[in-house]
């Protein structure tokens, strides 16, 4: 009898143990880990201005979807490294990772590290994200050979941010062509010098070594050549390059746009421009030390957010970017995007979080907080807050800039990151006059030929 009680007791204890293991598992929310930068700037309505809070809105989403969103922040460089390391290691620790449209999407897309997203729209329609509302250019920027690998958050196209008061003083109007741009810059230079103003520059752009200036400078190449002139015939995918055996043309059609960028920086930019990043160009404009900021107009809007200069606040205007000799506009295009890690174990849940983070509500919150028109959705661009801030005309100009942008103004090849870095570094060298334009382009050409040959493009 006693033995029987003991047996029943052991069985009951065993059952209790099993249940205790299973119940929390069944009740636990799925953890979705996100890795990105811009702490406190991205989604403060969800993660607070510190980036580590959990707001009521986030809690509501988590409760509704049964998901626990864990976000990990870092400095941009550190995050890019972490993304690379994590994807290479294949741990699947992060379900959503940051991938910019300037190399990350291409590298990881071709490498098979990201989940293709097109099917998800059909299989799991999202109440948070309506792809029809998004300007197609911003989605296209995240496609590699037609496959969508990431969704965009704040994004930008090209434009000119300028000081209307100074333009008016010298009787200038925003340039529509690059010839007019030269004339405007010359007039500003002589006007400022004539008044003895030596610490205000006609132009601020970015010329630091690395990938940063490439985003803008290859937009110059596109405008001068009339096509993405990196490889013969404007080939922009590995398939096209291989089929056409398209050779690099850095000493050919690439050169005039490159030269124009370098010479503009040297002649009209601040003395330190060969080391300037977007932060420097933003600060210089914000301090009232530059008349024109281009072509990445978003940095001008960022400057408006930090400036204490009343004239900058009052007289800053946006204009469409000029058209170059090749009949195309100068480009500068980028999206802050997140993609789903191919090794994620919870892809469906990751998709829900992704569409929530990139969706209408988040975009609207971004517009209301920053008051920048660098949003991905038409409904948000035309929302009251932005119209009230900039007026309908400037909003229309912003929309035209997006619609006229070509996200494929540079090739979508797996080696894009290295190309971007080398082109930007070559520009920095040329701007600083370490080497001549001819020498840096010749160096780029040799390097590109060797790289493509080694990469098996011309077998």
């Amino acid at each position: 009898m006693r033995k029987k009680y003991v047996r029943v007791g052991v069985i009951l204890l065993g059952l209790l143990f099993l249940v205790s293991l299973m119940v929390p598992g069944a009740l636990a929310k799925t953890k979705i880990r996100v890795l990105c930068f811009a702490q406190g700037f991205a989604w403060p309505e969800l993660f607070g201005t510190s980036g580590v809070e959990e707001t009521e809105r986030l809690k509501q989403f988590e409760e509704k979807e049964g998901i626990d969103v864990q976000i990990e922040w870092g400095d941009e460089t550190a995050v890019r490294q972490k993304v690379a390391a994590d994807l290479a290691a294949g741990t699947g620790r992060y379900d959503l990772v940051l991938v910019g449209s300037d190399g990350g999407v291409q590298t990881y897309g071709y490498g098979g590290f990201l989940e293709p997203l097109d099917d998800y729209f059909k299989r799991y329609p999202s109440e948070y994200f309506d792809p029809e509302d998004v300007y197609p250019q911003f989605l296209d920027a995240n496609r590699v050979e037609g496959v969508l690998y990431a969704l965009p958050y704040y994004s930008f196209g090209a434009g000119i941010i300028y000081r209307k008061d100074i333009f008016d003083k010298y009787g200038l109007t925003p340039p529509r062509t690059t010839d007019e741009l030269y004339q405007v810059l010359e007039a500003l230079k002589s006007g400022l010098e004539g008044e003895g103003i030596t610490d205000v520059y006609p132009l601020t752009m970015r010329g630091a070594p690395g990938e940063e200036p490439s985003l803008d400078l290859t937009g110059f190449v596109y405008a001068w050549a009339g096509y993405p002139a990196w490889f013969e015939g404007g080939a922009i995918t590995p398939k096209e390059i291989k089929e056409k055996k398209a050779m690099p043309i850095f000493t050919g059609d690439f050169a005039p746009g490159f030269q124009a960028f370098v010479e503009m920086c040297q002649k009209f930019g601040p003395p330190g421009i060969s080391t300037h990043t977007w932060v420097d160009m933003m600060n210089i404009y914000a301090m009232g030390k530059a008349v024109i900021l281009m072509p990445s107009a978003i940095n001008g809007y960022a400057a408006l957010g930090i400036t204490e200069n009343e004239n900058v606040k009052k007289y800053t205007r946006f204009a469409k970017i000029p058209t170059g000799p090749g009949g195309k506009q100068i480009q500068s295009f980028w999206t802050f995007s997140l993609g789903i890690n191919k090794d994620s174990r919870y892809k469906k849940e990751a998709w829900k979080v992704l569409t929530f983070l990139m969706g209408k509500e988040s975009m609207q919150a971004f517009a209301e907080r920053t008051q920048w028109p660098n949003v991905t959705m038409k409904s948000v661009l035309y929302s009251d807050v932005l119209i009230k801030k900039y007026g309908i005309e400037e909003i229309k100009l912003n929309e035209e800039s997006i619609l006229e942008a070509d996200p494929f103004y540079f090739p979508y090849i797996p080696e894009l990151n290295e190309y971007m870095d080398r082109i930007g570094t070559a520009a920095s060298e040329a701007i600083a006059k370490t080497k001549t334009i001819k020498d840096v382009l010749s160096g780029l050409q040799t390097w590109a030929m060797e790289t493509m040959l080694r990469g098996g493009y011309y077998k």
Binding site: A88, D199, G207, A208, G210, P270, G272, S428, T434
Partner: protein
């Protein structure tokens, strides 16, 4: 196995997993083509080493690294020794001055780099935009290729002289005052005391200071990264910046590993040379 040795097992396991395994893995991937956007990881023998050592990037970074490391090591040593000798004397307010000199050491290199970047900035910096133009110097210290390397070396010297100072001061304080007193009684001059007593007795401290500083300067990344990102162009691109670019911008982990191994052997080689030459 004697029972005492069993106590070593936990430490050995930790060391093997955090030192030996990564080192072995570094050698392993340096012999393979591991590029993130390419499938597979084929064995390529010494190709990564060949490509790195014959690239123009390597030669440029070698030049920059040598100038940076040698100038920074020598100048921080000379300054550190000078300060240590002065502040080893009985001076009024000596402790306060020592503390002030040691302060840069507690400032993180990234913070120091940003501070120097803003101070030297040609458009807004107090030195670059206001003081230097006032005396007719109009060039940009960080954007002029002939001045940028010198500027980052100055920032490094400011940041790291205190390390040399502290090591050498500790060495000086270990020298018995009796020796100086005896030398003075024997009529030795100050240069003689320095050459025949001070210098030989602080030799071990000097060697340690030089080796630590050399390794530190050779591997510096943060200060240069925030001040110039290796620019303008590649004017300040040292080996660590090149390795970072190859690994995390070009996603070529095999070549980055090969460069890391080359750097490792260079460091070991110079350290051995220093020890043998000076000892």
């Amino acid at each position: 196995m004697r029972w005492q040795y069993k106590f070593l097992i936990p430490s050995l396991v930790i060391l093997l997993s955090i030192v030996a395994f990564p080192t072995f893995f570094l050698f392993y991937i340096s012999l393979h083509q591991w590029v993130l956007f390419k499938r597979g990881m084929p064995f390529t023998g010494i190709e990564n080493f060949y490509l790195i050592l014959t690239s123009s990037d390597f030669l440029q970074s070698l030049k920059v690294s040598l100038i940076y490391t040698l100038s920074s090591t020598v100048l921080t040593f000379v300054l550190g020794l000078g300060l240590a000798l002065i502040l080893n004397e009985e001076l009024k307010g000596r402790n306060v001055i020592r503390t002030i000199i040691a302060l840069p050491l507690v400032i993180p290199p990234v913070v120091a780099g940003f501070a120097w970047k803003f101070v030297l900035n040609r458009e807004v910096g107090i030195i670059g935009a206001y003081l230097l133009p006032k005396i007719g110097f109009m060039k940009s210290l960080l954007a002029d290729p002939s001045l940028a390397l010198g500027s980052v070396i100055v920032a490094d010297i400011w940041s790291k002289t205190s390390l040399m100072f502290l090591i050498l001061l500790a060495g000086l304080q270990a020298v018995s005052p009796d020796l100086y007193e005896a030398a003075r009684i024997d009529g030795a001059s100050s240069p003689q005391i320095f050459s025949y007593i001070t210098l030989p007795l602080i030799k071990p401290a000097i060697i340690i200071a030089l080796i630590i500083r050399f390794i530190d300067a050779f591997n510096v990344f943060d200060t240069i990264f925030v001040m110039t990102s290796g620019g303008p162009g590649t004017a300040t691109q040292t080996f660590p910046l090149l390795g970072w670019k190859i690994g995390f911008l070009y996603f070529n982990l095999g070549q980055a590993a090969a460069l890391a191994i080359v750097m490792l052997f260079m460091t070991i080689g110079v350290s051995i040379l220093l020890i043998r030459r000076i000892m």
